[in-house]
C-alpha cells in the first residue's frame, strides 16, 4: 500500500473514532443519567479538562517544533492575538491578526 493511502486511512480512522466518541459523550446526559448529576468531585475534575488541554494546545502550536521548543514568528502572531483579545475583538479578527502579523514578519 502506498504511503499516501495509508495516511488517508489513518485520517478516516481518526474521523470515525472521534465522531463516535463525541456522539456518545454528547448523548451521555439524556441516555444514561436521565436527570441525575455527576458527583461534585467528578464534575470539578471534568470542568478543568478544557482549560488544561486548551492551554497545552496554545503552547504546542506556538512554540512546538520537531522535538524542540522553537521561538519564531508564530510567537509574535500570538502576542498580537492576545492584544486583540484584550481589546475584545471577535474570534475571527483575533485569528486573522495572528496570521497577518506572522505572514508580514516572514515576508520581511
Amino acid at each position: 500500500m502506498p504511503a499516501g493511502v495509508a495516511a488517508l486511512s489513518g485520517v478516516w480512522l481518526v474521523v470515525a473514532l472521534v465522531g463516535v466518541a463525541t456522539i456518545a459523550i454528547k448523548a451521555l446526559g439524556p441516555a444514561v443519567l436521565g436527570g441525575r448529576r455527576l458527583p461534585p468531585r467528578a464534575g470539578a475534575i471534568v470542568e478543568l479538562l478544557a482549560p488544561a488541554v486548551l492551554a497545552a494546545l496554545v503552547v504546542t502550536q506556538a512554540v512546538g517544533g520537531e522535538r524542540a521548543l522553537v521561538l519564531d514568528e508564530r510567537l509574535a502572531g500570538l502576542a498580537a492575538a492576545a492584544l486583540a483579545l484584550r481589546l475584545r475583538a471577535p474570534i475571527l479578527v483575533v485569528i486573522a491578526v495572528a496570521a497577518l502579523v506572522t505572514a508580514l514578519l516572514r515576508g520581511l
Binding site: 489513518g10 463525541t22 454528547k26 439524556p30 470539578a44 488541554v53 492551554a55 500570538l78 475571527l92
Partner: protein, 220 residues
C-alpha cells in the same frame, strides 16, 4: 413538546443568528487548514457532520498536520470533548419526547447553543438550545465544504501565517474558560507540562499528558 416550545425553538434560532456568519467562516478556516494538513476533501466534511465541535476538530488537524499519531489525535480530541459530558448531563432534564429524539437533540449541544440556553441556577431552556443548534449545524458543515473546496488555491499555509492561526484560536477559546482561580491554575499547569514534554515526546503526547492538570479539581 409542550405548548410554547416551538416558539422558543425559533427564539433560539434568532438569538444565534449573529454568531452564524462567524461559525460559517470558522468552518471555512477548518476546511482550509484540514485540506492543507493533508486530510483530503471528504474526511473533514464527514468530521464536521459527525463531531460538530470546533476545538477538537482543530486539534486533530494540528496533530495530524504535525505528523502526530492517530492515537494522539484521537486522545486529544476526546479529552477536549469530554467537557460535553457535564454539559449534556446539565441540560438532560430539559429534553422531552422519545429517547431517540433526545439522543439526536443532544448532538446539537455546542458551546454556543449551550451557553445561550442557560437560564441560571443550573436550569436550561432546551428548545432554545435546539433552535440555536439547528442553525449552527448547517453553517458549520457548509463552511467546511467551502473551505476544503476553496482552500486548494491558497498556497503555502506557512507563508500566509496560517500556522499562527492555531495558537491564536486556542487562546481565544481558552480565555473565556479562565473564570475561576482553579481553572487558571489548571491552564498554567497544562501549559507547563506541554512545555516540558514537547522536546521529549512525539506530537500530541504533550497535549494528552497536560490533561492530567485537571486532577487539580480533586482538591476541594
Amino acid at each position: 413538546m409542550h405548548v410554547g416550545s416551538e416558539s422558543r425553538v425559533r427564539d433560539g434560532a434568532r438569538a444565534v443568528l449573529p454568531l452564524a456568519l462567524a461559525v460559517v467562516l470558522f468552518g471555512v478556516s477548518f476546511g482550509v487548514l484540514a485540506r492543507a494538513a493533508g486530510m483530503g476533501v471528504l474526511p473533514p466534511v464527514v468530521m464536521s457532520a459527525t463531531t460538530f465541535a470546533g476545538s477538537a476538530q482543530f486539534a486533530v488537524v494540528s496533530i495530524l498536520g504535525g505528523a502526530g499519531s492517530v492515537a494522539a489525535a484521537v486522545a486529544a480530541a476526546v479529552l477536549l470533548n469530554a467537557r460535553y459530558a457535564p454539559m449534556s448531563i446539565a441540560v438532560a432534564p430539559g429534553f422531552r419526547g422519545p429517547l431517540w429524539r433526545r439522543l439526536v437533540g443532544a448532538q446539537l449541544i455546542v458551546d454556543e447553543s449551550w451557553a445561550l440556553s442557560a437560564r441560571g441556577g443550573g436550569r436550561f431552556d432546551v428548545p432554545v438550545l435546539l433552535g440555536a443548534g439547528m442553525v449552527l449545524y448547517p453553517c458549520w458543515i457548509g463552511g467546511t465544504v467551502l473551505g476544503v473546496l476553496g482552500g486548494e488555491g491558497l498556497g503555502d499555509p506557512e507563508r500566509l501565517g496560517l500556522d499562527a492561526a492555531f495558537p491564536a484560536l486556542f487562546l481565544a477559546l481558552l480565555v473565556p474558560q479562565l473564570r475561576t482561580r482553579r481553572a487558571l491554575a489548571a491552564a498554567l499547569t497544562g501549559a507547563a507540562i506541554a512545555c516540558i514534554l514537547v522536546p521529549l515526546s512525539s506530537p500530541g503526547i504533550p497535549i494528552v499528558a497536560a490533561s492530567a492538570a485537571c486532577l487539580l479539581g480533586w482538591r476541594r
